[in-house]
């Protein structure tokens, strides 16, 4: 307690130098929390968005389905397994049939993914109910804004599509754009046309078939897979996003290291200067009866108190700042969302977990203490008589 009191008196007595160090360190502390909060919030929002619009609570894939290889689509379909029929009929799972085809906007040809979805599905956040207005002659289609921009199609436009059924026969039909949806998930937009599942099955000559089956979120028990249908859990489906976030965290670590290095260098410099400038004071403390260990403890604690003051100062301006960004969010420009290529929220809400705050606080305090202690090791070799003369032995 005595040492803490003395250390506190000393660093407060040091005036401006102390407060400058404390400010730089608190800035590093708040910046680390803010950036890491943004990354965490972004990861959480991306995953939620992907789950809501694309992945559901997991999927069953036809054994030949490989989303990154369009050539597999011709073969990757099969009858919906009996084990999933109950889930599908109770709207806790929804089948999707996918094939590759071509679209002819303004006489040009463009490849497209044709996806059949149940208009009554409630699992994915896709406005599929618009596909209900099915007539025997017109096939309603749902596209995203990116696809609309790419094909220059607008609401109500007719366009010809061509595809091959499961027997290899080419066929073509006109579709009408029933809605252009605005979505933050390019995975359900870019190069894709959503059609009613029943019409799609007719077009493909594949009654009751699907390419994949999306399960509801938070599903309690997942039916067992089969040789034909393989279960893909969220761990598998979100693997790429997790990897992207890891890379992002790693690259932001460089920034943390720079920020911390800047702050720690200031404290290290102060400590080294203290050891050299305050030798006489150390000698006096020893003459007055303080042990060498006590002097080391005092000087280390002085450095470590910079960390504590920085945490307090950081809390004073950091809490309102972080709270404000967490509540209001940070709007992202549309171009930035499209450039990411993955589902991205339009407003980013940082997420600060207790683990993040506690971990960062601990990290700052420990590194400051270590950096404060390193120069004080010189004191262990200090002879009181030399110190009193202002010499460093």
């Amino acid at each position: 307690m005595l040492t803490i009191k003395l250390a506190f008196r000393n660093i407060v007595g040091a005036g401006l130098r102390t407060w400058l160090n404390v400010f730089v360190l608190s800035f590093a502390f708040v910046a680390i929390l803010w950036i890491q909060g943004l990354i965490n919030g972004q990861a959480k929002q991306i995953m939620n968005l992907m789950i809501d619009t694309e992945l559901g609570g997991g999927q069953f894939w036809h054994k030949d389905y490989e989303p990154f290889d369009p050539l597999t689509l011709e073969e990757s379909h099969g009858p919906v397994p009996a084990a999933l029929e109950d889930l599908i009929s109770s709207k806790r799972a929804t089948p999707i049939l996918i094939t590759s085809g071509a679209i002819y906007p303004d006489g040009r040809v463009q490849s497209a993914l044709l996806k059949g979805i149940d208009p009554d599905q409630v699992i994915l956040d896709i406005p599929a109910d618009i596909l209900k207005k099915d007539s025997p002659v017109t096939i309603p289609a749902l596209i995203g804004t990116r696809m609309a921009k790419q094909t220059k199609l607008m609401l109500g436009d007719y366009v010809t599509i061509r595809w091959r059924d499961i027997h290899g026969t080419f066929d073509a039909a006109d579709i009408q754009i029933a809605r252009v949806m605005n979505t933050n998930s390019p995975a359900i937009d870019m190069g894709q046309i959503w059609l009613p599942l029943d019409r799609m099955r007719e077009m493909m000559q594949a009654p009751d078939e699907a390419t994949l089956i999306v399960l509801e979120k938070d599903i309690q028990s997942v039916p067992g897979g089969s040789e034909e249908w393989i279960y893909r859990g969220l761990d598998f489906l979100l693997k790429d996003v997790v990897e992207i976030m890891k890379t992002k965290t790693a690259s932001s670590s460089i920034l943390y290291a720079l920020l911390m290095a800047m702050a720690l260098l200031a404290i290290f410099d102060t400590q080294v200067l203290s050891i050299f400038r305050r030798r006489k004071e150390m000698g006096t403390l020893m003459a007055l009866g303080m042990t060498r260990g006590g002097v080391i403890k005092l000087f280390t604690l002085e450095g470590a108190l910079h960390g504590i003051l920085a945490l307090i100062m950081g809390a004073v301006y950091g809490i309102p700042l972080l709270y404000l960004t967490a509540v209001k969010g940070l709007p992202l420009p549309t171009d930035a969302i499209d450039q990411m290529g993955i589902a991205m929220p339009s407003v980013l809400y940082p997420s600060y977990s207790l683990w993040l705050i506690g971990g960062t606080t601990f990290l700052v305090f420990i590194t400051v203490t270590v950096v404060s202690f390193l120069p004080t090791r010189k004191i262990a070799k200090l002879k009181p008589t030399d110190a009193l003369r202002g010499k460093l032995s």
């Binding site: 003459a287 007055l288 303080m290």
Partner: protein, 237 residues
């Protein structure tokens, strides 16, 4: 008051390495000091006064021989025990005052009591008393930078005396003071010596200090060349 031996040196030698050779700062010093003494080690620069004071103050160890201070052989003490001896029984007064610049007068004087683990109430009482001894009761909140040299040294005296130590070691205490302040400080020390029966041991070559001493030990080239008792001649000016 009964006078007993507080400090005893036996065949004390202190050598310092100097290049490839050794320099002998103290050579075969045999002295003893009783409680209540007002004694000075005098001699020219380099004669070994400060070295002897440092060894007696457990700030340094002898190369040979022993210095027994309040029954403890300083050469046998570890760092912690030396610090404890200084903390409990020794007061130091330095030529350059050595006040802690970020503390005010009260805090500077309070410091040795904090190390002794005294309660806040007792500390306050003792500090105010010590400041009264040195006539600085009105400067409690001042920082060393706001004080004159004489006032700084009075704070240093209060800091040394606040714990009523058995021994006070003063290294050239008047070297940075003018004549008036020097006499003022010395008068104060004489009165505290009488009041508290603390042993005062000076290292000095200042004639003003020497006039006040009751015992003068002259050192030359690390040896005691004279050890005389004398009648002090306090300043009558």
């Amino acid at each position: 008051m009964k006078n007993n031996v507080l400090i005893k040196t036996e065949n004390l030698v202190k050598n310092y390495p100097m290049g490839g050779r050794k320099f002998t700062a103290l050579n075969d010093i045999n002295l003893s000091f009783n409680s209540g003494e007002f004694t000075g080690l005098v001699g020219p620069s380099g004669s070994g006064k400060t070295t002897l004071l440092n060894i007696v103050g457990a700030l340094d160890n002898p190369s040979e021989g022993h210095a027994v201070v309040i029954g403890k052989d300083t050469s046998q003490l570890n760092h912690r025990e030396s610090a404890q001896l200084r903390n409990e029984h020794l007061g130091f007064i330095f030529q350059t005052f050595n006040l802690l610049s970020v503390y005010n007068v009260f805090e500077n004087v309070e410091f040795p009591l904090l190390l002794l683990g005294m309660s806040a109430e007792d500390r306050k009482k003792d500090v105010l008393q010590a400041l009264e001894w040195v006539g600085l009761s009105d400067k409690v909140k001042s920082r060393p930078a706001q004080l004159s040299g004489g006032e700084c040294q009075r704070v240093a005296v209060a800091r040394a005396m606040v714990k009523k130590p058995k021994i006070v070691l003063a290294d050239e205490p008047t070297a940075n003071l003018d004549a008036a302040n020097s006499y003022n400080i010395l008068d104060m020390m004489v009165s505290l010596n009488k009041e508290l029966n603390s042993t005062f041991l000076f290292a000095t070559h200042d004639e003003k200090v020497i006039k006040y001493l009751r015992r003068v030990i002259t050192l030359t080239d690390g040896k005691v060349v004279q050890d005389i008792e004398k009648t002090p001649e306090p300043n009558n000016a």
